[in-house]
């Protein structure tokens, strides 16, 4: 363990010299909430937590870490699902939640300038009086911060039509560990030079600290309509997804739930979903009144042609909200089926949906763990929820092994191990299956361009070659893992 204790440490003294006392947390009880993010199976008590209130304080924290060569782990709202904010036992956890000012809503230029700790939903709430909103809507949007969204390139239900975070951020201000402040982009639609905006979006806090974000705002659509269709087979539901898109319709959202997820949601909130269906699709259309009317009629025809057993469309906004309720409550609903669940995030080509869902069923039987599927079908982003009981001997281990096989399957069919949750610490091993050594080395060189000393969020997002060599060997040694001191999650 760490030989340095917070109280006698020069680093803590330096941090206390630059930050107000209430912004430096060393007391174990006060540090406890910071030991995990949304991936609660992974826990690590941070050495010290700092919660700066100004950009200048952030800059000073970076300087202290740089000069003392102390690792630094950035954290937004702590809702991440891949352990990207797992603290270092010998490092500073830099929480950015107090930088929570909406600096400017500029309706003429359709932008919002905000600090990184501003909650995702707060931007749309502030823009609402101008008839504008911020499109990316991760399911945690009531709590998650825009800085965290940038770090993870977060998605959501509506990114099929409106894109991910990377498509909706126009500018960033950030600090590098070397103390440089970079201003990338702004209120314009492009800027000269390398696309650092894209590079930083989804970089999982490995390259720098975002201190200000400029996002684009969109006009709130005039009309929204939700169409629910039930199907007697996964194949029919999955086939309908491709048919809708092949017919030139890009729905605002296109979500799918399987029988187990439907049953769980019904038992939890009673949204009126058909519990005898093998799968349902929820298709939201938005736009002008005439456009939505025309597309809705077309979608209903396509669903019927695909043997939907039931099709219903929302009558008004209140009805639409009710129909969404089951989907929005699906994760907590599934959470009632078992003490724990493990949420996966692979993305696959849409044409392989039915095949991959069937393969996941087989894995579920083989591992003896139930799976519920509720996911973004329109962009092929799966969220299998593996149900397990962390108190039952070996179940967490089985759930993680099964998750690893699901991700390998996603890569095999031409997909990726993570669509929107990030790699964090959780999918480091899965990354070894997706990338070859030269690509991983290129990633490491890229990180070194911004963080030559390797202090920013060390050990996350990109596995070392040594680790990948070991992952390959782990199967050979049948559980006798070499180098047990190296952490595996």
């Amino acid at each position: 363990m760490n030989a340095v204790t917070p109280n006698d440490s020069g680093v803590v003294k330096q941090l206390l010299a630059i930050l107000p006392p209430h912004c430096v947390i060393t007391d174990p009880r006060a540090k406890k909430p910071f030991e995990t993010d949304g991936l609660t199976a992974v826990r690590q008590m941070p050495w010290v937590v700092v919660l700066p209130e100004t950009v200048e304080q952030v800059r000073s924290v970076l300087r202290v870490c740089r000069e003392s060569r102390v690792p630094l782990v950035p954290r937004g709202a702590g809702t991440g699902l891949s352990g990207g904010a797992r603290p270092s036992s010998d490092g500073v956890l830099l929480g950015l939640s107090k930088l929570s000012r909406i600096i400017e809503i500029d309706p003429e230029n359709r932008i919002a300038r905000v600090e990184p700790g501003v909650r995702n939903l707060a931007i749309s709430e502030a823009a609402a009086r101008y008839g504008l909103y911020y499109a990316p809507d991760p399911s945690s949007q009531i709590a998650c911060s825009i800085g965290g969204n940038v770090a993870e390139n977060s998605g959501g239900v509506h990114c099929l039509k409106y894109g991910l975070t990377v498509h909706n951020v126009l500018g960033l201000k950030l600090l590098t560990i070397e103390g440089d402040e970079l201003t990338i982009g702004g209120a314009t639609l492009d800027s000269p030079g390398y696309d650092l905006l894209a590079l930083f979006t989804g970089s999982e806090g490995m390259l720098g600290i975002v201190t200000e974000v400029t996002v684009r705002l969109l006009p709130v659509p005039a009309t929204k309509r939700l169409i629910l269709a039930a199907f007697a087979s996964l194949e029919a539901a999955a086939g309908t997804v491709g048919r809708i898109i092949a017919n030139g319709i890009i729905p605002a959202g296109l979500e799918m739930m399987d029988a187990r997820a439907i049953a769980a949601a019904e038992a939890f909130v009673g949204a009126g979903y058909p519990t005898d269906a093998a799968a349902i699709l929820l298709c939201e259309l938005d736009g002008t009144h005439d456009e939505v009317e025309e597309q809705a009629a077309q979608v209903v025809r396509l669903m019927r042609a695909q043997q939907a057993t039931e099709v219903r469309a929302s009558r008004d906004d209140a009805d639409r909200e009710r129909m969404w309720l089951g989907r929005k409550a699906a994760f907590p609903a599934v959470g009632r089926l078992a003490p724990d669940y493990y949420c996966m995030d692979g993305t696959i080509p849409r044409a392989r949906l039915a095949e991959v869902l069937r393969a996941i069923e087989k894995l579920s039987e083989r591992f003896g763990l139930a799976v519920a599927n509720v996911f973004h079908a329109g962009d092929g982003n799966l969220h299998p929820l593996i149900l397990y009981d962390s108190n039952a001997e070996g179940e967490l281990d089985r759930a993680e092994k099964m998750g690893g096989e699901i991700l390998a399957l996603c890569v095999d069919v031409g997909g990726t191990v993570t669509g929107e949750h990030g790699v964090g610490v959780e999918k480091l091993d899965a990354m070894c299956g997706q990338f070859a050594a030269p690509e991983l080395e290129q990633f490491h060189r890229l990180k070194s361009a911004f963080d030559p000393a390797g202090l920013m969020n060390p050990g996350k997002a990109i596995p070392t070659l040594a680790r990948c060599a070991e992952v390959g060997g782990m199967h050979v040694h049948k559980g006798n893992i070499a180098f047990p001191e190296i952490e595996r999650f």
Binding site: I111, Y130, V166, T183, T188, L189, Y194, V220, T288, T416
Partner: protein, 360 residues
């Protein structure tokens, strides 16, 4: 029609040899956008023969093609499925390639609504300066595994690697389009498009030039008709030809003389400089024909929160922010340690950089 050919083995060998000999390479696709930046130093590496569609799945909205594939061929193939390259890259006078479109990162008149070149990129296979073939991203819509190298390559002018294969998101062609024309001065036009862009309307392009505002609407037939009634104006026949003439700069405005590309916050007032303007992207992109110097135009744009570049045949590379330049150089070194790719096209040689302050 260009031949389908995988030329990657030859290209990798050529890069390996150049790296071993410390010999710079000037990457050339189909040569249609050479005028966008100073010429690269070195012997030519022609990638035009690395051509052909590798995979196109219309119901996946994904197309993968080799970098040398001509854009006209891609447009033809996509049109057969009623789809399109949403970023609508310019082809200019020649016939651009997909690789050139991504390397230069330019997008057409629909950019604010359909996204930019970088928004469409899903995955790239490239050769780095160590002559390694690397694959980043993929063929799926959402992918956050590893750093977004594919988008970093977009607009990098080939300075970080030789693009081999590119996967892009494609979109359905709108069922219906209409172009409305209004005789208004430029300030009224700007006020109108700024208002309309805040309104839920099926906008797909705007342009103000020579006292006329053009607005493209796209979507379903009923939706477009309703929007046309709402905003008014007169129907412009053959609207598609007009928008193509903007995209490829065959419109008479782009004829003779100096032309600056000025990117501004959309609602920014026009700078008080003498010259003629053509404004696209609901105010975000403004082309400026003027006798004013580069320094004057750039300073005026920066004061408004934007930037200006000489679009054709700039004598020196674009000036970069001093803070960013340090990291650009390190990124360049991370991908191309011997600086063999497109030397001089994006950066001047070390020690001669044109540098601007971030916030003058």
């Amino acid at each position: 029609m260009a031949r389908d050919r995988d030329d990657s083995v030859r290209l990798i060998a050529a890069v390996a040899l150049a790296a071993a000999q410390d010999r710079p390479l000037a990457i050339c696709g189909r040569g249609s956008k050479t005028f966008l930046a100073p010429p690269a130093i070195g012997s030519m590496l022609a990638v035009g023969d690395h051509s052909g569609v590798i995979d196109y799945r219309h119901d996946e909205l994904v197309l993968t093609a080799r970098a040398g594939t001509p854009l006209t061929e891609l447009r033809r193939i996509l049109a057969s499925q009623r789809q399109m390259l949403a970023f609508d890259p310019p082809t200019f006078a020649g016939d651009g390639s997909l690789g050139g479109a991504i390397a230069t990162g330019l997008s057409g008149p629909g950019r604010p609504w359909y996204g930019a070149a970088r928004d469409a990129v899903l995955g790239i296979t490239l050769i780095n300066g160590r002559a390694e073939r690397l694959v980043f991203g993929g063929q799926v819509m959402k992918n956050v595994a590893g750093y977004d190298v594919s988008r970093l390559m977009t607009g990098a002018f080939g300075t970080l690697g030789v693009l081999l294969d590119i996967s892009v998101k494609v979109l359905p062609r709108p069922h219906h389009e209409a172009t409305r024309a209004f005789a208004v001065d430029r300030d009224t036009a700007l006020a109108n498009v700024v208002t309309w862009a805040r309104t839920p309307l099926p906008l797909a392009a705007t342009c103000h030039v020579d006292g006329v505002l053009y607005v493209r609407l796209s979507g379903t037939e009923k939706g477009v008709r309703a929007a046309a009634t709402q905003i008014g104006g007169d129907e412009l026949p053959h609207g598609a030809e007009f928008w193509d003439s903007l995209r490829d700069q065959t419109h008479p405005f782009f004829g003779e003389g100096h032309c600056f590309r000025v990117a501004l916050p959309p609602a920014a007032a026009y700078p008080a400089l003498p010259g003629a303007w053509l404004t696209e992207w609901a105010g975000s992109l403004r082309w400026f024909r003027t006798e004013a110097t580069r320094e004057h135009v750039d300073l005026a744009a920066r004061r408004l929160g934007g930037h200006a570049t000489e679009f054709r045949d700039p004598q020196v590379p674009q000036p970069f922010d001093k803070g960013a330049l340090k990291y650009y150089r390190r990124l360049k070194d991370a991908f191309d340690p011997k600086a063999i790719f497109n030397r001089g096209r994006l950066f001047q040689e070390i020690g001669q950089e044109a540098v601007t302050e971030a916030n003058p």
